[in-house]
């Protein structure tokens, strides 16, 4: 298989397979989770301002007083790399083009130099977060193969994408093909790993907010 054939495959059948597994996988997991339902709370509710599932979906994005000091890397590193990933995926010109080809929607992109900078900052933040996972006893203790694996699966598309645009290490065609392949691996892994939190965290926050709002506690 030549470089071009490889690129053609990952851009065509490979992408279709990955997107198919991603969409069906996420749908399956969400059905698997949310059709379990929950029992109605029969206790008389107490109403309080600011207490609801909806409030918690947003409020939980901010640390509780005192928590930032206890685990600054988790919060600051976490904010940076999540924001970085979102900027790269949704505001990078080639990605917007891909989305346009897939669903027909498009919007203005950020300049490629800015996306390049975002990629460097995102990778730096991810390395710091990884170092924290290795150094912090609690994180190291909790970590399983899945944690290291999902870190790598998230990191590689950023690294290969950045290297492709900077023309580093490998010819552009090869690096681009690797970049697309790594993104496809990410899409396939996401529904069946902790990366699904990108979808379920809304449900989790909502349930937590709702259950506690019943008691009049804004959480």
């Amino acid at each position: 298989m030549t470089d071009l054939q490889f690129l053609t495959w990952v851009r065509g059948p490979g992408l279709n397979i990955a997107i198919g597994i991603f969409l069906l996988g996420v749908l399956w997991r969400l059905i698997e989770i949310y059709t379990l339902g929950r029992r109605k709370d029969l206790a008389a509710p107490r109403h309080a301002a600011g207490a609801s599932g909806f409030h918690t979906v947003f409020r939980r994005s901010l640390p509780l007083p005192g928590m930032l000091k206890r685990s600054p890397v988790s919060y600051i590193g976490g904010y940076i790399f999540h924001a970085g990933l979102a900027i790269i995926v949704f505001l990078g010109a080639p990605h917007i083009l891909l989305i346009k080809n897939l669903v027909g929607l498009s919007w203005p992109a950020l300049p490629s130099q800015f996306i390049g900078l975002a990629a460097v900052v995102t990778m730096a933040a991810m390395v710091v977060v990884l170092a924290d996972r290795i150094n912090k006893p609690v994180k190291r203790f909790l970590s399983t193969f899945e944690d290291w694996f999902t870190w790598a699966v998230t990191f590689l598309p950023v690294l290969t994408g950045w290297m492709a645009t900077q023309h580093l290490l490998l010819p552009y065609t090869q690096m681009l093909a690797l970049h697309i392949l790594s993104a496809e691996i990410l899409l396939v892994v996401l529904p069946f790993s902790k990366l699904l939190h990108g979808f379920t965290l809304f449900g989790s926050r909502w349930y937590n907010g709702k259950v506690n709002a019943h008691k009049g506690v804004p959480v």
């Binding site: 029969l42 988790s74 902790k194």
Partner: protein
């Protein structure tokens, strides 16, 4: 697999619902829940990380309710939950978790961890992996009426004494009263002043109340152990008595778990909404304060801090009443940085204070360092709280660290400083 383990795993399968599935699917192993748990912050041992305490429940979820987990189980790639493992987890689920719920407040993906620990306890209880201390307390509650094995004659004796001290009649089994007053054994035995305080305050407010000779105990060890069947038996006593006496409201004592049991878990245990309202004593007191009935003759001058019991405040939703009440009676109340729903647990809730093994007691003493720090940072010699179980745990902590801090109950403190009672009214003793 032993029969009891099979029952335990079956119980775990039964408690798993959409929230639990969502929570486990969202966890990214960030470990922030550890930073909210006093058993981790005071020991530095990662095994006390709240999400780790849930590992057996997580595996049952994965193996029974996810496609990939079921596949892995089929081809023998998953690790089954064993008796030995649950035995090891007993310390994590009971000794080092007070169901304080602080972890549920910090999880960035929104996991309600305490909700899950409570459910895991169902499986632990059924499979027999429960500390003897809690098991015995539950047995005594079912057999005698209270976790301390107290029977009605002993309670009646305490009531009689309270009548003598206050000069007020304490009504028993009086149908049609506004309130059915519940107590906790801890109060009856260790803090009978609470009963005197209640008699004075009700008299002053002119509200009718009664105690029930067949339902005086409000605590529910069935909930602490995690056995819903027993919890239902215990809570039904109160429901039956309240309905028989046709009271409008049931008054929960200060005790945190009692409030949780009757106010929030009660209707779900009996399977229907209550026909009466459940009110925490502080809610009633704050209502009386707002009406101007709760007037003080003087105020306490000592600088003091407040310990907000988890089950009443963070988990129970009585958020607004405590502070105005303490300000009503104390001139120098100093709010702590982590107050109200952010407060740190005393270390003895969720049944933990009933576990008397050497290891559990040593762990509780370590966890208490956080309360000690709060007191020292505020530079006070007095702490006020409103939960009998917190009081016992805190007193033990004071003893352990040889502290000279004074601990006061809020309701009693209010009663002590209440304007004098008019002894010529209807409820005065003849």
């Amino acid at each position: 697999m032993s029969a009891s383990l099979e029952k335990g795993i079956h119980a775990l399968r039964e408690v798993i619902d959409a929230p639990i599935a969502s929570y486990f699917s969202s966890c990214v192993h960030c470990g922030l829940c550890a930073e909210a748990c006093l058993f981790y912050t005071e020991t530095g041992d990662p095994k006390y990380t709240p999400i780790h305490k849930l590992e057996p429940l997580r595996r049952v979820y994965e193996q029974e309710y996810t496609l990939l987990g079921r596949l892995k189980k089929r081809v023998g790639l998953s690790k089954a939950v064993t008796d030995a493992e649950l035995d090891e987890w007993q310390e994590l689920v009971y000794d080092s978790c007070t169901l304080c719920g602080r972890c549920s407040l910090v999880c960035p993906v929104g996991n309600d961890l305490v909700y899950m620990v409570r459910k895991l306890r169902e499986g632990m209880a059924v499979s027999g992996h429960v500390p003897d201390g809690i098991r015995n307390a539950t047995k005594r509650t079912v057999e005698t009426g209270g976790p301390m094995g107290l029977k009605w004659p002993a309670v009646a004796h305490v009531l009689k004494h309270a009548e003598e001290v206050t000069g007020l009649k304490i009504p028993v089994d009086q149908a049609g009263a506004d309130y059915l007053v519940l107590l906790s054994s801890m109060e009856i035995v260790n803090y009978p002043e609470y009963i005197e305080a209640i008699a004075r305050i009700f008299h002053k407010a002119g509200i009718s109340y009664t105690l029930a000779s067949d339902a005086y105990e409000a605590t529910n060890a069935g909930i602490q152990i995690g056995n819903s069947d027993l919890a239902k038996v215990i809570v039904s006593r109160i429901v039956d008595a309240a309905e028989k006496l046709k009271v409008k409201k049931v008054l929960s004592p200060e005790c945190g778990h009692a409030y949780m049991a009757i106010r929030w878990e009660g209707p779900n245990l009996v399977g229907r909404p209550f026909g009466f309202e459940v009110v925490h004593v502080l809610e009633l007191l704050d209502e009386l304060r707002q009406k101007g009935v709760l007037k003080m003759k003087d105020k306490l001058k000592d600088p003091l801090i407040l310990h907000d019991p988890c089950q009443i405040v963070r988990r129970g939703g009585v958020l607004q009443a405590p502070e105005p009440l303490i300000r009503q009676v104390a001139e120098n109340y100093i709010p702590t940085a982590d107050k109200q729903k952010l407060n740190w647990c005393c270390g003895g809730g969720g049944g933990a204070s009933a576990i008397h093994t050497e290891a559990a007691e040593a762990l509780r003493a370590k966890a208490f360092k956080i309360k000690k720090r709060q007191i020292e940072e505020a530079g006070v010699d007095t702490m006020v709280t409103f939960c009998a179980n917190c009081r016992i745990t805190i007193e033990e902590g004071f003893d352990h660290y040889e502290m000279n801090t004074k601990l006061l109950g809020l309701t009693e403190l209010l009663a002590e400083h209440l304007e004098p009672v008019d002894a010529n009214s209807a409820s005065a003793l003849p």
